[in-house]
């Protein structure tokens, strides 16, 4: 999706201000939404690709003017409304009109340790021979669906070289929309001078991890 979230190389943003952040606390709303996201039962199950995409679908002005953790709030709210698990009225009042059927029990505190140990994993078993080998020159496709993708705009159409094969991973473009499909994932190396016509140090490198269907031989 060609959205404002796809920030690589965008002009107009100012100086980076190194920040001194407050630690998480039980009472701050930022910490609460952080913990909620890791804990609540999501319709259709926890799906990071869908979660990222829902966040990308915020109104562009709101995306750019809201706090990082507030964007998490808007994501969770939209996920619930989309599935019919909450209404705008319920979100406003905080009072439930009904309970979603078949959601099961919420995640208990004891489950946290197991999640810390296991984590989420997008790797899948190898299912064929990858098309590209390290060293191959590839061009990132001009692929920008109205939907999830993890092909950043700033590499599209540009030529790089395969740096490494990362194994087979679930393809976000499909997974976000409810279909699981795995593909070889490659680390692709781009020369700064090939990406930016105004690169101050054209020999610097930018690496991105890109799925096989994002790439074409060249």
């Amino acid at each position: 999706m060609d959205g404002v979230h796809d920030m690589g190389g965008m002009h107009g943003f100012g100086t980076v201000e190194p920040t001194h952040d407050k630690p998480l606390s039980r009472t701050s709303w930022r910490s609460r939404i952080f913990g909620i996201e890791l804990s609540y039962t999501q319709p259709g199950g926890f799906n990071l690709d869908w979660m990222r995409h829902v966040l990308e679908c915020m109104p562009p002005a709101a995306y750019l003017s809201s706090d990082y953790f507030d964007r998490w709030y808007w994501r969770e709210a939209a996920i619930l409304v989309n599935a019919g698990w909450a209404s705008i009225d319920e979100l406003t009042t905080g009072q439930a009109a009904d309970r979603p059927a078949g959601a099961g029990d919420p995640m208990p505190p004891e489950a946290v340790s197991a999640l810390l140990d296991q984590g989420v994993d997008s790797r899948r078993p190898d299912a064929g021979t990858p098309t590209f080998q390290p060293g191959d020159r590839v061009r990132a496709r001009c692929h920008s669906p109205l939907g999830a993708t993890r092909l950043p705009r700033y590499v599209r159409g540009h030529v790089g070289a395969i740096e490494a094969l990362r194994g087979w991973h679930v393809l976000p473009d499909a997974s976000a929309h409810g279909e699981e499909r795995a593909e070889p994932l490659y680390c692709v190396r781009f020369l700064a001078g090939d990406l930016w016509d105004d690169a101050a140090s054209p020999r610097d490198l930018v690496f991105a991890d890109l799925w096989e269907s994002y790439l074409e031989p060249c």
């Binding site: 999706m1 796809d6 920030m7 690589g8 190389g9 965008m10 943003f13 100086t15 980076v16 201000e17 190194p18 630690p23 998480l24 709303w29 910490s31 609460r32 952080f34 913990g35 909620i36 804990s39 609540y40 039962t41 319709p43 259709g44 995409h53 679908c57 109104p59 750019l64 706090d67 990082y68 507030d70 709030y73 808007w74 969770e76 939209a78 409304v81 989309n82 705008i88 009042t93 905080g94 009072q95 959601a103 029990d105 919420p106 995640m107 505190p109 489950a111 946290v112 810390l116 984590g119 790797r123 993890r150 950043p152 990362r166 409810g178 930016w196 610097d204 930018v206 690496f207 991105a208």
Partner: protein, 215 residues
């Protein structure tokens, strides 16, 4: 259950939410938590537990221990650069989203820096919750295009002949930088070395400074 996952519909829902809900995030988040609890989708004690875990257990101290070990133990360094996922688990780090962690090593001629231009992916398992600057639009937009200028804003000036390698976390691969061991630390033990290693050095926006004279 089958959840609709249509982009046009989500865009419309997001617009509607933004025009109807109150602007104060603290209010909205409180209402969301009550609602989820009432609906039987959330246990607030689990929220507390996650906050506790990320306050006490998961943070840049984990990564700093990994770095210090790599500095003093060449065999561990080799394992870390070959398979960081296993190496950090060996050091007692959690997995979280780091099922595919990659460590990239700074040298006198190569400097690595990590970003996520599309959102804010970050190696939580070794570094905890990302700092606000890492999630800022300024950092996400600029570090892939003018890394030297951005590093300069962190006070890090690199020689012109140092190659900068920017790692954009576009997939579930997570990156941590193995910084250079600073000069004058030959006498330090692993624990003292770990105390020198900052979060920013493991993201690549700083170097590890030598200990001040007299330490």
């Amino acid at each position: 259950m089958t959840v609709p996952r249509d982009t046009k519909k989500i865009i419309a829902i997001q617009e509607e939410l933004h025009s109807h809900l109150p602007s104060d995030p603290a209010l909205r988040v409180r209402a969301l938590e009550s609602l989820l609890v009432e609906k039987g989708l959330l246990d607030s004690a689990t929220v507390d537990r996650w906050i506790e875990v990320f306050s006490e257990q998961v943070g840049p101290k984990n990564g700093a221990r990994v770095v210090a070990r790599a500095w003093v133990d060449p065999a561990f360094r080799t394992r870390l650069l070959g398979d960081a996922t296993s190496a950090v688990v060996e050091m007692g780090c959690p997995k979280l989203e780091a099922n595919s962690l990659v460590a990239v090593e700074n040298t006198p001629r190569q400097h690595n820096v990590v970003v996520c231009t599309l959102c804010s992916c970050y190696p939580w398992a070794v570094l905890g919750v990302p700092p606000t600057w890492y999630k800022s639009f300024e950092y996400r937009s600029r570090v892939v295009r003018e890394p030297r200028v951005v590093l300069g804003e962190f006070g890090l000036e690199l020689d012109d002949d140092v190659e900068i390698r920017v790692w954009d976390s576009t997939a579930e691969i997570r990156y941590m930088v193995l910084p250079e061991r600073p000069p004058g630390t030959e006498h330090l033990e692993e624990e003292a070395l770990a105390a020198l290693v900052t979060r920013d050095a493991m993201v690549g926006t700083a170097k590890v400074a030598a200990p001040a004279a007299g330490n």
